[in-house]
């Protein structure tokens, strides 16, 4: 059964791609009502009301989950995840973070409480290969393959204290003596681990630890999936999507998106199976065209899809009502 998740905004959102009036990310971007219109909103809403609305949209539109991305310039993902878990019943929330945020014991401890509070709906995406300057701004000076050694220890210790009372570990990066959670913190399912990257170290780490290895459309999927067979990780894909009633309307929307994002009208990226105008490669077309592309990925072994679409609320409803039913049906036929 394929799983579909949305990707949450880390820096607000807006109807116009360059405007971030939703979520208080652009001072002054809020439309002010003229004096002739009564405005009762003063002070009643804060920046997290928008995130809450996006989360509810995903829940109501029958998505399986939502990814709260790590973004050094954006909202903190564990705080976002905790809020969304509290106000949804079904949604799984994948919080993305890097190993330097906390000791593995403390990352596991926060997560154990969130599992208790949410009925076990928290998942992790661990970002290992951050851009060098971003890493340093977060206090991380470990480089190269050592980052994977540390991530391996981080996940080993986090799982160790989670599953084993009296757990000890003495590694290069972390030390624990007689650790391990007790009831009622212990005994919950560990968050599903999502990892990414195409280097041999990244794929080896996934083979050891991942539940889902998340690819980008640009990645060499066949080679990557082949490398995962040593472990139990399944394949995921994080992909921007722009879907409309027909192909022509979708491509027109893509062109508008490009120009409104500041691109030159003469330089709109070419139409094709993967459109690069999102900033990374993504899918454009009618609902059926996009569904067909996703069926192609399903056939290649991808089972988890992180769809990215803006503005988040409107597009989440759209995808839930028009795209997901095509794929559920396909799945039923396949069985």
């Amino acid at each position: 059964m394929p799983r579909f998740l949305i990707t949450l905004p880390a820096r607000g959102d807006g109807r116009h791609p360059l405007r971030r009036n939703r979520g208080d990310w652009q001072p002054g971007a809020h439309a002010v009502l003229p004096p002739v219109v009564s405005d009762v909103r003063r002070g009643a809403f804060g920046p997290f009301d928008h995130l809450a609305q996006v989360g509810r949209a995903a829940e109501i539109a029958t998505f399986g989950g939502a990814l709260a991305p790590f973004d050094a310039g954006g909202e903190e993902s564990l705080v976002v995840a905790a809020g969304l878990l509290r106000q949804t019943r079904w949604l799984r929330v994948v919080a993305e973070f890097h190993p330097v945020i906390a000791t593995p014991v403390y990352a596991a401890k926060i997560s154990a409480s969130l599992q208790r509070f949410s009925g076990d709906r928290l998942d992790w995406q661990v970002a290992v290969d951050l851009d060098r300057s971003v890493a340093r701004s977060q206090g991380d000076f470990v480089t190269g393959a050592n980052r994977y050694v540390r991530a391996d220890e981080f996940l080993t210790v986090a799982k160790g204290v989670w599953h084993e009372e009296g757990y000890s570990f003495d590694g290069r990066f972390y030390h624990v003596l007689s650790g391990g959670f007790q009831p009622p913190l212990s005994g919950r399912p560990f968050p599903r681990i999502h990892l990414s990257g195409t280097s041999p170290e990244a794929l080896a780490l996934s083979a050891r630890h991942a539940d889902v290895h998340v690819f980008r459309p640009e990645d060499d999927l066949e080679a990557g999936i082949a490398a995962l067979t040593r472990g139990r990780a399944t394949a995921g894909l994080r992909v921007p999507v722009l879907a409309r009633d027909d192909d022509e309307e979708a491509w027109e929307a893509a062109r508008t998106l490009w120009i409104r994002s500041g691109g030159e009208p003469e330089a709109v990226p070419e139409r094709g199976p993967l459109w690069t105008g999102f900033g990374s490669a993504g899918l454009v077309g009618s609902y059926e065209t996009v569904a067909q592309a996703i069926r192609g990925y399903l056939a290649r072994g991808v089972t988890t899809f992180f769809l990215e679409a803006r503005p988040h609320i409107e597009e989440t409803y759209r995808l839930g009502e028009r795209l997901l039913p095509l794929l559920v049906k396909e799945d039923e036929h396949a069985r």
């Binding site: 997290f48 903190e76 945020i101 926060i110 969130l114 340093r136 977060q138 009622p184």
Partner: protein, 386 residues
Amino acid sequence: MPVDIYWRIGTHGDQQSLRRRTVSRGAWAPVLPGSLTPGIRDGHADGYSYVDHMADVARASEISGFVGGLLPSFPNTDDPWAAAATLARETSTYRFMIAFQPGFLHPVQAARMSASLQRATGGRVVYNIISGGGGPDQLWWGDKVDHDDRYARTSEFLDVLKGVWNGGPYDFEGRFYRVEGAGLPEPLARQPFPEIYFSGSSKAAIQAAGRHADHYLSWLEPYEPLAEKFAQVREHSETIGRAPKFAVRVEVLARDTEEEAWEEIRRGWDGIDPSVLRGATGDSIGWQRSRSFVTGAVNGYRDLEVQPNVWGGFHLLRGGPAFGLVGSYQQVAERLDELISLGVDAFILAGVPHLEEAYRVGEEVLPLLRGRDLRVQSPLLEGISS
């Protein structure tokens, strides 16, 4: 200045009364009929979790007049960051005082979480910074840094946290932390910095508190040592040009009459297994101090009443610190007023069960408080400088 009064939320479940040490709220004991969050319906757990009860305590606290609550953190408790982020949007005025140890989170991550929480709550995050109870617990957490170094690390942690708070680029290279080009992004950087409540009774703690604390937080102690401790903090702070405020964590057992209150203690006392007396461990100076205030043989519960209404046996009836106030509503209010006269600017009160007692103390005790100036002649304060 008005006094800020907080009401603790238990992060380790709660018991229905001090008479029974059974933790019936939050699954820290086997879930049976009579357990709550989760409860049992038709033989099955009802799907509620302890955070649903914590939400009730938070709402009871804000409705009853408390400014917020302390969320403690120990190995076998729920985590206060997780709880605050979970409950952020279902409270209105409640300030989340998050207890945390600096070593466990990176300061940049602490800044990011705090700023996002400020945005989620409208600026209702408060810090209770603890540098560790020490002993075997620190290694349970995976922390090998020893006692005095933990305070040095706390200082560095707060330097980095404050350094990135107002944006960047910020560089730092210290013994414990290093960042380059750090700084919160703009909408997060515009948030108010959380007030800092700082705990610790050792010399190293008092020095670190002098630099960083808005409030120096102590457990309740007999007035004389408490006033001495405040004087030391004040003295050290003055040498570096700072003036911290003082806060005290006080357990409260208040009833209509003094007799009723002590009767409640007696019923709890009768259920204590004598072998559990004096069980605490660790290298915390605070624990060692607590034990030192009780001299002489303890043959009954009133032997732990070290001065009128100040009772040192609460740790025997529920998890947590030893000292609290026992008495009528009026007596408890008077003792709190005396503490205000000693220089206390903020309280973290607590009582078991936290939900029901939040209403009781909010409705019966807080309205009786009169504040600093009216009671300075109290005989209990004679000879103690405030």
